[in-house]
Point group: C2
Chain length 290, copies 2
């Protein structure tokens, strides 16, 4: 029997560990650090087997899935680089890919690291909120380097199918980080910025769906997002600057009562949004080619 | 039999007209402008009766609900001010309340105007998307002026109950506009600003729930939102400026790799969001007192 070792049973790790159970002829072993998580993992049958000692499992693990926060993943790679099984596939799940790919360069030749990013999540964390169905119809982004083997890419695709991901997107770590700065990190900057408003506690009763939707992700894990933001600073900073500029243009048009400009800006943005909604509904292939 | 006249069967008007049917001993009459809307209203049984001539219905209408866009409501009040039935209750549904309350000052004494704002909506418009259930568990904001009668306020509460609103929030037009600038209009400024990005069409495959949630309302009606933004320019401009400032502070911390500041800002915002989530879940009365 082959072995998948899932390191870190937080929200994503525990959900993956649940989702991967039964995959081909693999045993799923979950590595935890705390007794509390161990007990919950047992109660929820989050893995076929559990361990407190991932290092001891590494030499026999055909697939290793690193599910810690970015600093945890980078530290684990460096600390255990010589313990991985030759020919193993190592992948991670965190939200920045260039920094992790650079750290993975320390792995010996023959250990194949492929940075991944399941585009799934919740505004709450931990194994308590994990679900084996978390990945259904979400994107699974993989960022294979030049040394990635076709065999391992095929294996990743089969695991993605088994976990019921909606699709698998292949791109480079750099392109991933640029895109994710816009589609995910910026949304988190917005959500926390909106919550940093003195009216937050007095606005209850005045909030509709748009406010709940926009601020949902503000209940984030500050330590993890500090890592994600700083590890992707150049791309994130560019996309935040672009947003600042655009929001400022709206404010100027509003303050000047410049209805013509305002209407033109709103028409253009709303047309763009409607077009992309349509393309998605039609299932057009507007996906970038690499 | 008494009569409720709903003027304008767009998304909100048609949904209200559907929801209000069967309310006490009122006939619900829907006023439309186009044959297309008339035909759809007949097919969907959107009202007990339909008319192309709201002016002719006004002298017999005990309740008039104005469901046009802000300029349409203001124009209707001015044009028909002498046709309303003495003792009638007139209310509107649009997203700005000070400008509409000022326009309603032209009504003769004895016609009671109360500006309202059902905090419900969709990112799509028109009678095709209307539903009688649209208002379930949403806020119904009412902004009675000093001349509003208790009898009419009670009537509004009973209509809100009948339409299954979650609660009725009473406030002033000015406070409404200040709050809504933050909780609703700002969310729309954000959504369109995010969509004004060259990466919008290439980011498919990289977007998760936060991106879909934040940009959902960008598919807005440009003419109506131009009105809403400019009619509430001072409050909206203040809240946009506050957001710009905060987003800029995040960018500076990210560019300076200032993890300590970043983590402190993220902790504070995320704590605020978690606290308000908790208060809502507990149903605490964090609602402002007026």
């Amino acid at each position: 029997m082959k072995k998948i070792l899932v390191v870190g049973l937080g929200l994503i790790g525990a959900s993956l560990s649940m989702a991967l159970q039964g995959f081909e002829d693999y045993e799923v072993v979950g590595a935890v650090r705390s007794q509390a998580t161990y007990d919950k993992a047992v109660a929820r049958r989050a893995a076929d087997r559990l361990t407190f000692d991932p290092a001891a499992e590494l030499p026999g693990a055909d697939v290793v899935v690193l599910c810690q926060d970015p600093a945890g993943i980078i530290g684990f790679l460096r600390e255990h680089k010589d313990r991985f099984k030759p020919g193993a596939l190592v992948w991670d799940v965190c939200g920045v890919k260039t920094a992790v790919a650079q750290a993975a360069e320390c792995l010996p030749h023959g250990v194949d690291f492929i940075g991944c990013h399941p585009m799934a999540g919740k505004e709450v964390s931990g194994i308590d909120n994990a679900e084996g169905t978390l990945f259904r119809n979400t994107h699974f982004i993989v960022t294979p380097g030049p040394r990635a083997t076709q065999e391992h890419l095929d294996l990743l695709h089969r695991m993605a199918d088994w976990c019921k991901f909606g699709d698998v997107i292949e791109t480079t770590p750099e392109r991933h980080d640029e895109m994710i700065a816009y589609t995910s990190q910026l949304m988190h900057v917005i959500a926390v910025s909106v919550c940093d408003n003195e009216e937050l506690f007095s606005c209850v009763g005045f909030e509709g769906g748009s406010f709940r939707d926009c601020t949902r992700v503000a209940a984030l894990d500050p330590a993890m997002w500090t890592q994600l933001f700083t590890l992707n600073a150049p791309a994130l900073s560019r996309t935040v600057a672009r947003l600042e500029e655009r929001i400022h243009q709206y404010r100027v048009a509003i303050e000047n009562n410049d209805r013509e400009t305002l209407r033109a800006m709103l028409s253009s943005a709303s047309d763009r949004k409607k077009q992309i909604n349509l393309e998605r509904a039609r299932g057009d292939d507007v996906r970038p080619k690499f």
